[in-house]
Subunit: 427 residues, 2 copies
């Protein structure tokens, strides 16, 4: 009756405006990113699902290419779509520094700026502030840092990160967190987790107190932290699921801990997470890690590996990684992978790609990138297909029977990196 | 009767083989690259024509993108075709050094190696030997030089250049010549021309004594030299047309001489050349040079400018060259050229391209290259259209009324370059 009373006092065009605002409010009020669990493996924890966003549907498990500076390096949007990319990442820290939020507002958000009409997930900037930026200092909820580009001084907080991601207009927003390094002692991990949880709650409170800046809704994912300590990880799951988010990411893994530790923690966390929300393992990874993670219940993964390695000449096949710069490909007039239907494999030979690599030609980096992104996405698509057809365990076995897993030097590198960082910070 | 006698003695499959060989011989014997003159301007020397090759037709006037290392830098074959590229260049000197002739033979020639099914023109390697290679020494018809990549010792001659181009399998082969520098005194130019003419005849004798290596015919173009001296240029035209070639190129221009001198010499040479053969002005040039050259009777042009400048952020429009790195484009959400239908202009804004340039992103170089190649080819296509529609003088006038011609620093640079070269050679 109240509504009718109001409507009675208004002109027709005012009616329309009011009705529009009211409908929009309802959409926001009842908005909940829709995740449909389609299938679970009988013997492994793997699952297939569907995520619905305002920019379209995402079929999980899914590999998400990384578009740090509003471009997935070396690829066009058309090439990403041909590779069946369903969602890409943008980096909050990088995009905040360049092109900056003034340009992003002028453009109408990241989708418009880069002309990408499918879903986008943005990270919170936390990981980059703690790994890339210089002279960072945490005081309360404010992290002060210097840009790695020009040394200029900036401050991030949960609210700032949310405001940047509101401006970017990503379909999936990540909470602001501290990503613990490896190795990390228990005390540090515990204290860091408390801070992260406070920041995650603040992220949610801020984002949900505002309307989206552009004409589509934004889901918010929490990040489970706790370093390599299972009790902290489970405590984190408890806190975050009690709080309630649209999805749950696992952060602070794939930072150099032994592979088995990463797989086991992924399994524990996934087992504790609710089944009706998507799970995202951040920064993973190599093809073997992707399959291991899917088998443990992960739905979404991202990594710079396929594009970064492509520019170094490393390309992936179902038999393992090969390096196109090797002399053996000089006179090899077969495609990279005869079973692959990417543009590079359908049109060019290993000999040509070897030549382009040696000449440092842009087309060489492009062809390698096209192939690798195609391969990583195909990997998750095939896993999904196997799940839907009730044959995931066989797919898993076949993959590891064939794929030549590389030796892992991650831990040694991480320890070296962490020692150097500590030494640097003492100065 | 002789043929019948032979055929009577053979089995059926032998008949077929013989018939095939005989037909092929006839094709080679009577082979003459077909050039059809379609239209001439009434008031200017411009003309429209058609060149028929075994890899398809070329509509002239035409701009030919340069694919030095078996790739037009930053572009895929599909992108070249979308830009309506009808013929591309390959560089004999570069391809001889890398990937080398063993790989090229294994691939089945340059078309196969790079999977380009349209016409290819290869230069003779002469220009690069004299401009890029180190420690070159001419003894008789043998030019000895050191590779600019690894210092290894190599020898070129008219015969070697022809053999390399046979292996590359280009549709249009260029004779081996010496490209005189600018400035160049009369005596040097006269002596060089004598050597060049001897080499051109040797090139023809060698190439025509052999069957093509692959299953298509190769046309041979002569190169008119004579530096900036009109009498030498006309002497060169006389010698070469008496000798008879499939087409005639003008070499040794666009090397730093004043622009008016280049235009005047182009006019004199074109006026003296036969009308029924295509004319190719080598290494030209800027958009204004292209239009000036077409107006003087040139049919084909090539230049690295559109791709090289693209990588430096310079992009071309009908109003002139702009540099996308300029701050003024930071918040400019319009396309580079609203009237252009290339992928970059149809999909992205100046602000996005400015951002990609600042970030040194490969996609930035790609979009700029796509646009520039599209623009240069469109330039010649529009000129051709105007010719066919009997309105070339109006097109010419409209172009220069609108296009902001840059100041020319070519001569000063060339004099500086030549002085440095002479100083280096004295050491």
């Amino acid at each position: 009756m109240f509504m009718v009373d109001i409507l009675m006092c208004l002109h027709t065009d005012q009616h329309f405006k009011l009705l529009f605002t009211f409908t929009l409010s309802l959409v926001y009020l009842y908005y909940d990113m829709k995740f449909t669990l389609q299938k679970e493996s009988n013997t492994l924890s793997a699952r297939a699902g569907l995520i619905q966003t305002d920019h379209g549907q995402i079929e999980t498990p899914i590999f998400m290419p990384v578009g740090t500076h509003a471009t997935v390096k070396a690829l066009s949007n058309d090439e990403l779509k041909t590779a069946k990319a369903q969602i890409i990442l943008g980096n909050t820290y990088h995009l905040y520094l360049r092109p900056g939020m003034e340009v992003m507002k002028g453009a109408g958000g990241l989708h418009q700026f880069m002309n990408w009409d499918k879903p986008i997930l943005t990270d919170s900037g936390g990981f980059q502030v703690f790994s890339l930026a210089h002279l960072r200092k945490i005081e309360g909820d404010i992290t002060t840092f210097r840009s790695h580009i020009d040394g200029s001084l900036h401050q991030f907080s949960p609210e700032v990160s949310m405001e940047i991601q509101r401006t970017l207009g990503s379909d999936i927003v990540m909470v602001f967190d501290e990503c613990t390094p490896y190795p990390c002692d228990y005390e540090y991990a515990k204290n860091s987790l408390a801070v992260t949880h406070r920041w995650e709650k603040k992220s949610k409170d801020y984002l949900r107190s505002k309307d989206p800046m552009w004409d589509h809704t934004q889901a918010l994912f929490a990040i489970v932290q706790g370093s390599v300590y299972e009790d902290l990880r489970l405590e984190s799951v408890k806190f975050l699921t009690d709080e309630g988010f649209d999805g749950y990411a696992i952060g602070g893994l794939a930072v150099g801990e032994p592979k088995q530790m990463m797989y086991d923690l992924t399994q524990s966390v996934c087992d504790a997470l609710p089944k009706d929300k998507p799970r995202y393992l951040m920064g993973v990874g190599k093809p073997e890690d992707i399959i291991h993670s899917i088998a443990r219940g992960v739905d979404m993964m991202d990594c710079v590996l396929p594009t970064r390695n492509a520019r170094n000449g490393s390309v992936y096949t179902w038999d393992g990684k090969i390096n196109i710069k090797n002399q053996q490909y000089r006179n090899d007039f077969t495609p990279l992978d005869p079973t692959c239907d990417c543009y590079a494999c359908k049109n060019h030979t290993r000999a040509y790609m070897h030549h382009l690599y040696r000449q440092n030609e842009i087309l060489g980096m492009r062809l390698n990138s096209i192939h690798n992104i195609h391969f990583f996405i195909q990997l998750t698509r095939e896993a999904r297909k196997a799940l839907l057809e009730d044959r995931f365990p066989a797919f898993y076995k076949d993959f590891f029977d064939r794929y030549r897993v590389e030796e892992d030097h991650g831990e040694a590198n991480a320890i070296h990196r962490e020692n150097r960082r500590k030494k640097f910070e003492k100065k």
